[in-house]
Each structure stands twice: as structure tokens, then as C-alpha cells.
């Protein structure tokens, strides 16, 4: 089964940017999926069991922090790596068992996104970043 990345962000262009940034990975057989808010993100995470989730913090409905907690506390999603994308200084305190694996600050560097994603998914990129 191929590697799956889920991108959860309510901003259209941020989703597009992340898609474009990660498009090189699609050549490596990685499938990229999108959710437009927290609730859809939670549902898709449960259905898709992705290997990697990029999660925006500020979203209507369920916030990124809520979705993060749900994923991290779901035994079925133990293999899912969570990266939170947040503006500087907006990271709330997470309970120790529900914290994201890592977070990146906006505005983010596309190269960094690609290299982190490749590392998490265990993919060797065939180009220099």
C-alpha cells in the first residue's frame, strides 16, 4: 500500500502550495489528500490512516490542536506522524500524550517541508534541495 499524506488546512492557497511543494513525492508513489477543515480532517484521518498529517492550527469547527489530540489518542492511528503548521508563538500547551511530533512555523520554507516529509516517509529524494 502506498504512502499517504493528509493536508488539513482551511486556506485554499496554502493547500495548493503544500500540494505543489510535495508534488515531487507523488512521483515516488506517495498519495496526497486534502481536508478543508478540522472535522473533515478528523474524519479523513480515521478513514485514510495516513502516514503523515500536515495540520493547520487555526481552523473553524475543530482546531488543529483538537484534531491533533484526536489522532494522537486514537490507537488505530498510532503510525501517523503529525506536523503542525502554525504562526510563531501560537502553539498552545498540549497534554504530553497528545502533542504533535513536530511543528513548523509559517511562513514555511518549501524545501524544509519536502525534506521533512521525505524523512518521515523514508523516501530518498533524487535531487538536491
Amino acid at each position: 500500500m502506498s504512502k499517504r499524506i493528509l493536508i488539513v488546512d482551511d486556506e485554499n492557497y496554502i493547500r495548493l502550495l503544500l500540494h505543489r511543494t510535495l508534488e515531487d513525492l507523488e512521483f515516488e508513489g506517495v498519495s496526497i489528500h486534502f481536508a478543508e477543515d478540522g472535522i473533515e480532517g478528523r474524519d479523513m484521518a480515521r478513514a485514510l490512516k495516513p502516514d503523515l498529517v500536515f495540520l493547520d492550527m487555526m481552523m473553524p469547527g475543530l482546531s488543529g490542536a483538537d484534531v491533533c489530540q484526536i489522532i494522537r489518542r486514537d490507537p488505530m492511528l498510532a503510525g501517523t506522524h503529525v506536523i503542525i503548521l502554525t504562526a510563531k508563538g501560537q502553539l498552545p500547551d498540549f497534554p504530553p500524550d497528545a502533542a504533535p511530533h513536530e511543528y513548523m512555523t509559517k511562513p514555511f520554507d518549501p524545501d524544509q517541508i519536502v525534506s521533512r516529509a521525505a524523512a518521515v516517509l523514508g523516501i530518498d529524494l533524487d535531487f538536491e534541495l
Partner: protein
């Protein structure tokens, strides 16, 4: 002068005495020798004469002795008296002769002199006391003739200071020899504030407010009348001064009462036991009616006893001001500040209680913080897209398009390179916009007090090395050298490592920005309870008139217009707020043309206790 008389008498006495002893002895021996030798009888007769003469001399010596000594005593006594030594006395049990009479007379004379001297001393003393009085004072006898008067009385009536009014009668002094008030005084014994017109030597009569008393002798007979008088104009002047002072006091009191009442916030003055001593209009309006005299807990919070955590009591106990915020009636927030009112000796006389409704301020702060968080998010999202796509395109162009252009015409290759350069500018400027958004958010949070520090021990060497590493690209690019001087055993600082790093990186970036050649030097040292870090550059320095403003917001704007760029103008204000939050100090020294040194201090982690003890005091008011 010596005692010539007695000395003379003594010599006569001594000569007579020697003669009286020697003559009979010589006579008797001579007579015996003559009889034995068979001398003629006339010679023996002569010797007998000598014996007789000796006996006569002895009698004479006795009389001289009897008379000369008392005379000597009397002379000595007279000399003593002449020199003022009046103590001493002759014992004269019975007057037997003229000498006794003389001694008795001397005794009487010295006794009289003693009395006279005491009387003179008494009168002199009395005169001095009377002259020292600021009011006019005069003592009259029953007939209204002045016996004594003080200097003030003489002065007021224009009389000679030495002689004064002594001997003058009421007829001269007030124009009537026996005025009715004097008669009344003699009868009733007192005179109370009678206005009497005294006639001075020259000019118009002077109205004097006069009080008096009658002095009687042992038999109850009126002897003296004592009058104390003061010029009526003087009294009027004093009264006027008193009225003026009272009026000024009333004005001042009214002024401060108005000031007190003009305050929109309820302000009360409390006694240490909670009694309300004063309340301004706002306090009366808020808590209803006249608060003065009520207990504060009753008036303010309808309680029957002292409230828990009473700030006034705390101020009373600690002599410090306090400030607490209470949530009252739903969402309203009241801040209560108390200040001690100290007496002259530093004792607490009362406590000022100042209440302020801070509900709106707090709501506004929350709103502002929320707004800024929202705005910064809204700004960051499109910025993220812009920068992300730009970077993505830059990568696609360099990775996929550039290799294809190696064979393209020169013009195309140049155009392509220009595209890459321009996109690089977009990236740099985007990054700067991102920093600006971050700085604005940081500063807003700092100013709203919304930023909390994650305090802990911060290793100074790591802090400095980290900051130097973080800015290495900047100073290496400009060809500057970086020097670092830290003591071997530097105690840890107490602070938020990330924030202190932010400050130091900012100071270093600034130093690098304004230095074209030379060295940037970072120095760490310990100063008392604090750790101090200096960042010195060899740049252009700051003009003296700019120095006080370097920590102000957007102060750098001018510099940016002059071509210096990449700054947001918020770096130093953020540093200042961050260091202030650390309870530290930040400042700058600069010599134009030689460079600037930015310095800051933070607490030593191992000296926190001492800082707690010296917690800053809020003001108190002395002299209530």
C-alpha cells in the same frame, strides 16, 4: 593701702613692751653691781629710776594693747564694707565704751546696706522681666501715679527709655486724674479689656486695649494697680492676619476638596481600624450617602467584619502600597489601590483607598490581543502563499528550466538570470515582511502584558555563542571580526532563554548592520546580583541627540530611508520590553565616529532571594 594705723600701734606696742621688760632687768642688775662694788648712792638711785621707768613702760604697753587691737578690727571691717563684703558681724553684748558704740553702728550700717542691695537687685530683676514683655505694662499706686513701667509702655507713649513714665500721674497719661475705670478697678479688683485712650508725649491719643488687676497689702488695702495694654491697631492687625490665614486655609481646603471631588474614581481615606475619614464625590455616589464615620467593609461590601485579604490592612502591616483587582457584579473588574499616608515620624496615619473600574481596559486588552492574533494570522496566511509559491517557482526554474537554457541566445539567458534575481528580491522582502508581522505581534503582546516568560537558568556562554552563531552569516559577509570575552565561571542568568537569545541576536544584528569595518565585541561580566552583557561595535556611533530615542518604536525609519535596510524599527523596543519583563536594565553608550555599546543586565539565577527581598516599592505619601 595696708593697715598703717594698726601697724603703727603694733610698733609702738612692741617698742614699749621690749622697753618694759628690758629696763627693770638692766636697772636691777646695774643696781646690784653698783651696791656690790660700793658705788656711790646716786648711781644706785639712777638704777632704781631705770627700774621704775621699766614698770611705767609695762603699764603703757598694756594700755596700748587694750586699745590698738579693737581699733584694728574696726578699721579692717570698714575696709571690707567699703569693698562690698557685707557679711560679718561684731559681737557687742553691752555697750561699754565708744568702741562698742562704733561697732554697733557698723553692724547696723551693714544690715541696712544688705537690705538696700537686695531691694536694688529685686527691682532691677523686675524691670528686666517687665521690659522683656511684648505688651505695655505699667504699675500704678492707689492714687494713679506710676511706680513702675516697662520699656514697651515708654516706647508707645514716646517717653524717655531710661526714666520712662515713673512718677507720672493718670492725669498726664490719660488726661483724667481719676477716670471712672480706675475707680471701678480699685473697687472690683479687675479690669477686663477696657479700651483706654493713652496720651503720648506727642500726637493723637492711642487706643489701647487694657486689662488690669489690683494688688492689696496684708491688711487688704489697695496698694498697686497693674495694667497690661496693647495698641488696638496691633490687635486689629493680628486679627486681620488670623482672618486672612483662616481664609487662605479655607480656600486651600476648598481647592483640595474640589480636586478630591473632581476625581472620577472613588477615593476614600481610611483610618487603620477601617473607619472612613474622608470620601470624595465619586465614592459617595457609588456607595451612597455620607460615608464618613462608617466602616469600610460595611460601606463598600455590606459585610460585618474585615474582608479577607483586605488591601488596606496589608498596607497598614507592610507600610507599602498594594494593588489588587476584584471581579464584582458579573464581569465588572475593579482595581483597588491602597497607599499609606505617613505622619512626620513615619507612622501610618491613614490609608488612601483608590478604586478604579478597569473592566473596559481589560476587555480592550483582550480585544486588542485577540485582534492582533487574528490580524497576524490573516497577514501571515497570504504571506505564506506568496513566499511559498515564489520559492517553489524559483526551485522549478533553477531545477527544470535553467538546464534547458544553456544553448539559448545570450539575451534569453540574461533575462532568465534577471528573473531569478528579482524573485530573490521578492523572497528577501517577503522575509522582512514576515519579521515585521512577528515583531508587531511580539511588541503588542509585550505592551499588553500578555507575554509570559518561561523563566529558568540560562547559561550565559551558550547564550552568547548561540547568538554569535546565529548571526555569523551577517558578520562574515561584511568581513567583520567577532570577539567574545566571558569570565571562566560565569553564573547562570535567570530568564527565558529564547527571549534573551532574541535580545542578543537583535543587538548583534544591529551592531553588524551599522558597522562597516572592524570588530564586534561581546563581553559578559557579573555585577552584584546581576549578569551584564555588552555588545560593542566599531561603527559610526549614534548622534547624542538621537541617543535618548533609540529604544523608541520605528526610530530607525530615517535610517531606512537613507539606504540602511532590513530593519523593522521594532527590534530595540522589543529588546527593551523583554529586558524590562526580566526586571533587568538595557541602555546604550555611544561616541559618534567611534562606535556604540549596547548593554543589558538580567538577574543572576543564584541571587534570586536577594532580589525578592528588594522588591520595588510603590509610592507612599508622607506628611498627612
Amino acid at each position: 593701702m595696708g593697715a598703717r594705723g594698726p601697724a603703727l600701734a603694733g610698733r609702738v606696742y612692741r617698742a614699749l613692751a621690749i622697753f618694759a621688760i628690758a629696763a627693770p632687768i638692766v636697772g636691777a642688775i646695774a643696781m646690784w653691781l653698783l651696791v656690790a662694788a660700793g658705788a656711790p648712792p646716786w648711781l644706785a638711785g639712777a638704777a632704781l629710776g631705770l627700774v621704775m621707768a621699766g614698770a611705767a613702760g609695762a603699764v603703757g604697753a598694756f594700755f596700748v594693747r587694750r586699745v590698738a587691737r579693737p581699733i584694728r578690727q574696726v578699721v579692717r571691717r570698714i575696709e571690707d564694707v567699703a569693698q562690698g563684703r557685707l557679711d560679718g558681724h561684731f559681737d557687742v553684748p553691752e555697750v561699754e565704751d565708744e568702741l562698742d558704740a562704733l561697732k554697733q553702728s557698723l553692724n547696723e550700717m551693714t544690715a541696712y546696706l544688705l537690705v538696700a542691695r537686695e531691694a536694688r537687685v529685686d527691682r532691677h530683676f523686675l524691670q528686666n522681666v517687665m521690659d522683656a514683655m511684648p505688651d505695655a505694662l505699667v504699675v500704678l499706686d492707689a492714687n494713679g501715679v506710676v511706680e513702675l513701667a516697662n520699656r514697651r509702655f515708654s516706647e508707645q507713649l514716646g517717653l524717655d527709655a531710661e526714666i520712662g513714665a515713673v512718677g507720672q500721674g493718670l492725669g498726664t497719661l490719660v488726661g483724667v486724674r481719676m477716670p471712672p475705670w480706675y475707680r471701678t478697678l480699685l473697687e472690683s479688683g479687675v479690669l477686663t479689656r477696657e479700651v483706654i485712650g493713652f496720651t503720648p508725649k506727642q500726637g493723637q491719643p492711642i487706643s489701647m486695649v487694657t486689662s488690669g488687676a489690683l494688688v492689696r497689702d496684708a491688711d487688704g488695702k489697695p496698694t498697686w494697680v497693674v495694667l497690661v495694654a496693647r495698641d488696638r491697631r496691633e490687635i486689629d492687625e493680628l486679627n486681620q492676619e488670623l482672618r486672612d490665614a483662616n481664609s487662605r486655609l479655607a480656600d486651600s481646603e476648598r481647592f483640595f476638596q474640589n480636586l478630591f471631588d473632581a476625581m472620577d474614581d472613588p477615593i476614600t481615606v481610611l483610618a487603620p481600624d477601617g473607619d472612613i475619614l474622608q470620601a470624595n464625590r465619586a465614592a459617595r455616589a457609588m456607595f451612597g450617602g455620607n460615608l464618613v464615620g462608617q466602616k469600610c467593609y460595611r460601606a463598600f461590601r455590606m459585610r460585618d467584619g474585615v474582608c479577607d485579604g483586605c488591601p488596606a490592612l496589608e498596607t497598614y502591616a507592610t507600610r507599602r502600597s498594594t494593588s489588587v483587582e476584584h471581579r464584582v457584579f458579573g464581569n465588572a473588574i475593579t482595581r483597588i489601590s491602597t497607599y499609606p499616608l505617613l505622619g512626620k515620624n513615619g507612622e501610618i496615619r491613614a490609608i488612601i483607598n483608590h478604586k478604579r473600574d478597569v473592566t473596559k481596559e481589560r476587555q480592550l486588552e483582550d480585544l486588542k490581543a485577540g485582534f492582533l492574533a487574528g490580524v497576524s494570522h490573516e497577514l501571515r496566511t497570504p504571506l505564506t502563499s506568496l513566499m511559498g509559491f515564489n520559492k517553489l517557482n524559483l526551485r522549478r526554474l533553477t531545477r527544470y528550466v535553467q538546464p534547458l537554457l544553456s544553448e539559448a541566445p545570450h539575451k534569453v539567458r540574461v533575462a532568465f538570470q534577471k528573473i531569478l534575481d528579482d524573485m530573490q528580491v521578492m523572497e528577501t522582502e517577503g522575509a522582512r515582511l514576515g519579521r515585521l508581522v512577528n515583531d508587531v505581534l511580539d511588541l503588542s503582546k509585550l505592551e499588553a502584558g500578555k507575554l509570559t516568560l518561561q523563566m529558568g537558568e540560562v547559561d550565559v556562554a551558550s547564550l552568547v555563542n548561540g547568538a554569535i552563531a546565529a548571526t555569523s552569516a551577517l558578520w562574515r559577509d561584511k568581513g567583520l571580526t567577532m570577539a567574545c570575552d566571558l569570565p571562566n565561571r560565569m553564573p547562570a542568568a535567570w530568564g527565558d532563554g529564547d527571549r534573551l537569545s532574541q535580545v542578543l541576536v537583535n543587538l548583534l544584528s544591529n551592531a553588524i548592520k551599522f558597522t562597516d569595518t572592524g570588530t564586534i565585541e561581546v563581553t559578559g561580566r557579573v555585577e552584584g546580583n546581576e549578569v551584564r552583557i555588552d555588545v560593542r561595535d566599531s561603527g559610526s556611533g549614534i548622534p547624542p541627540d538621537e541617543l535618548p530615542h533609540v529604544f523608541e518604536k520605528f526610530r530607525q525609519v530615517d535610517e531606512m530611508r537613507q539606504g540602511r535596510q532590513n530593519g523593522t524599527g521594532l527590534g530595540l523596543p522589543i529588546c527593551r520590553e523583554l529586558i524590562r519583563l526580566h526586571e533587568g536594565r538595557i541602555w546604550v553608550d555611544s561616541v559618534l565616529g567611534e562606535g556604540s555599546t549596547f548593554s543589558f543586565t538580567v538577574l543572576r539565577a543564584d541571587r534570586l532571594d536577594e532580589f525578592e527581598r528588594s522588591i520595588r516599592e510603590r509610592p507612599s505619601f508622607v506628611g498627612y
